[in-house]
């Protein structure tokens, strides 16, 4: 059974249909890639799944439970973690303290027995996992001075510390160098290996297609193509939508 079912979701903003009648099933422990031109409704769909926007129509089921109408924090606590496209960490806090917030969430507290363990240590462990050099000063630096690459890693670390089951990564690779992307890819593979599900919205098609199990293509708020990466690559309609973008 699909872990996440999206059924007939529609949302319009003042006459513009941002998402129109979208239905997708996400299978457990797979990586779903979502691609499409800017403004085609990908982020809106993510906002709907995570509860930030209420759709006009349609429903979303997580393990058979309806998500529409639940506030974002409840959805997060159910196990759907979401990384933002525009990274805005908690700028006033040091990097490792950034993780104290998700570590204080209901989900983490209930899974770790409600105790107040050494959160700082857990946070530092997770940061090391996503590539913060433990023995350097980087994890202790205030988030506002961290470089872009580290902020993206911090987003990932947040989802890991939440013990999410579905990782929704909204353009995680945007603005990163090839070297940085290659160093983050293994982390995503590890997340998959641990039995989690990943949904990636991405413009870096090359990297995405290497790890994706299934890819859907958005244009004007609709799914125009759905299939294995290979099929998508060869599809004419997709090429037209992505005209000018080298695949």
């Amino acid at each position: 059974m699909a872990i996440l079912e999206i059924k007939g979701v529609t949302k319009s903003f003042g006459g513009v249909k941002a998402v129109e009648d979208v239905s997708v099933n996400v299978e457990e422990n797979t990586l779903l890639g979502i691609i499409g031109p800017n403004g085609s409704g990908k982020t809106t769909l993510v906002n709907i799944i995570t509860g930030f926007i209420k759709p006009d129509k349609g429903s979303v089921f997580f393990k058979g439970k309806e998500l529409i109408g639940l506030p974002p924090y409840t959805i997060t606590n159910l196990g759907i973690g979401r990384a933002f496209q525009m990274v805005k960490p908690f700028f006033h806090l040091p990097a490792f303290k950034n993780l104290i917030v998700p570590l204080s969430s209901k989900r983490v507290r209930s899974t770790s027995g409600g105790g107040y363990g050494d959160k700082d240590a857990i946070a530092l462990d997770i940061l090391e996992e996503v590539g913060f050099e433990r023995d350097s000063s980087v994890p202790y630096k205030t988030a506002s001075v961290l470089p872009h690459g580290y902020l993206k890693r911090l987003e990932l670390a947040r989802l890991i510390s939440l013990k999410s089951e579905i990782f929704i990564l909204d353009e995680l690779f945007s603005g990163l160098s090839i070297a940085e992307v290659t160093s983050i890819l293994p982390i995503i593979e590890k997340i998959l290996f641990e039995g989690n599900t990943v949904i990636m919205i991405e413009h870096r098609l090359k990297e995405l297609f290497r790890i994706a199990n299934k890819v859907i293509v958005f244009n004007f708020g609709r799914i125009i193509k759905e299939g294995a990466p290979k099929e998508i690559l060869e599809d004419e309609e997709v090429k037209k939508a992505y005209l000018g973008v080298e695949v």
């Binding site: 903003f13 003042g14 930030f52 926007i53 974002p72």
Partner: protein, 286 residues
């Protein structure tokens, strides 16, 4: 009642437009707006009574002086703290109390300060007498709105205004100088305030305290209308204006404030970004 509700709305709209213009373009909440309004009234009064200038000349001079003053305030004060919203508010509020209390200190208190009306007399409309000045307010209000529209949609500076308002960074890359635009917007906002003062003040006397009232009025109209939206301001001033008139008519005048504040509250709870601020809804309400 219909007519006076209309007038009340027009007065509110005129008061709010200047504040709204500045805020909409440069994001500066000009808390000195009320003070500028009052100062404009006194300057015109001084021109007429001490320099014996004709009314029209002194009005135009006042508008120009106040406009320049607004731009200077931006250049010397606000520019240095641009982006620190709280500091901007505190600084402009500081300017406001300096201006108002200075006026009070000079001794501009009492009941003798009032501007002459444009044309004396009154006409009967729908069974009630309305003085011509009030009709002027409606007419000039409409005129200002139309000319603002033309300005922002058909002139180069106006288009630059809209550009900055919508996307500051992109406009920067297109060679629009945001400081120039912001100081212009401050200047124009203040000039509009002065204009409103000259049109509205002949209805009564010029008092220092009304500076604070004007600010509160402008602020609430702008918030209800959705900050920065001209059409929102118009609609909001109609809502608040008519609410006030109707309450005063059928309930009692001392309920007007409560009812209009309550209306604002309700609108904020239902539609937090104001009536016409829907594109920003997500940002204002999580």
């Amino acid at each position: 009642m219909f007519v006076y509700g209309l007038i009340n709305s027009a007065v509110l709209a005129l008061m709010a437009l200047g504040f709204n213009l500045t805020f909409g373009i440069s994001g500066i909440a000009n808390f000195a707006y009320g003070a500028i309004y009052v100062v404009a009234g006194f300057i015109t009064w001084a021109f007429i009574n001490h320099l014996n200038l004709p009314y029209a000349v002194s009005a135009i001079l006042t508008i120009i002086i106040i406009g320049i003053f607004g731009a200077l305030v931006y250049k010397f004060i606000i520019k240095r703290i641009r982006g620190l919203v709280i500091s901007e508010v505190i600084a402009t509020f500081g300017i406001s109390i300096i201006l108002l209390e200075l006026l009070r200190f000079i001794g501009l208190i009492g009941f003798k300060y009032s501007l002459p009306v444009f044309i004396d007399g009154s006409v009967e409309i729908l069974g009630v007498y309305v003085d011509i000045q009030r009709l002027f307010i409606i007419g000039l209000g409409i005129l200002v709105i139309i000319s603002l529209y033309v300005f922002t949609h058909h002139t180069k500076t106006g288009l630059a205004f809209r550009g900055i308002a919508q996307e500051e960074h992109t406009s920067l890359s297109l060679g629009i100088n945001p400081d120039r635009i912001a100081s212009l917007s401050m200047g124009m906002g203040s000039a509009l305030g002065a204009f409103a003062a000259i049109v509205i003040l002949p209805l009564g006397t010029i008092t220092v305290d009304s500076g604070y009232d004007v600010l509160i009025n402008a602020l609430s109209v702008c918030i209800v209308g959705g900050l920065g939206s001209t059409f929102g301001v118009i609609i909001a001033s109609f809502i608040i204006g008519y609410t006030q008139t109707i309450t005063a008519m059928y309930l009692a005048p001392h309920w007007t404030m409560i009812v209009s504040l309550f209306a604002i509250l309700v609108i904020l709870v239902i539609k937090p970004s104001g009536l016409l601020g829907h594109q920003k809804e997500l940002e204002e309400r999580v």
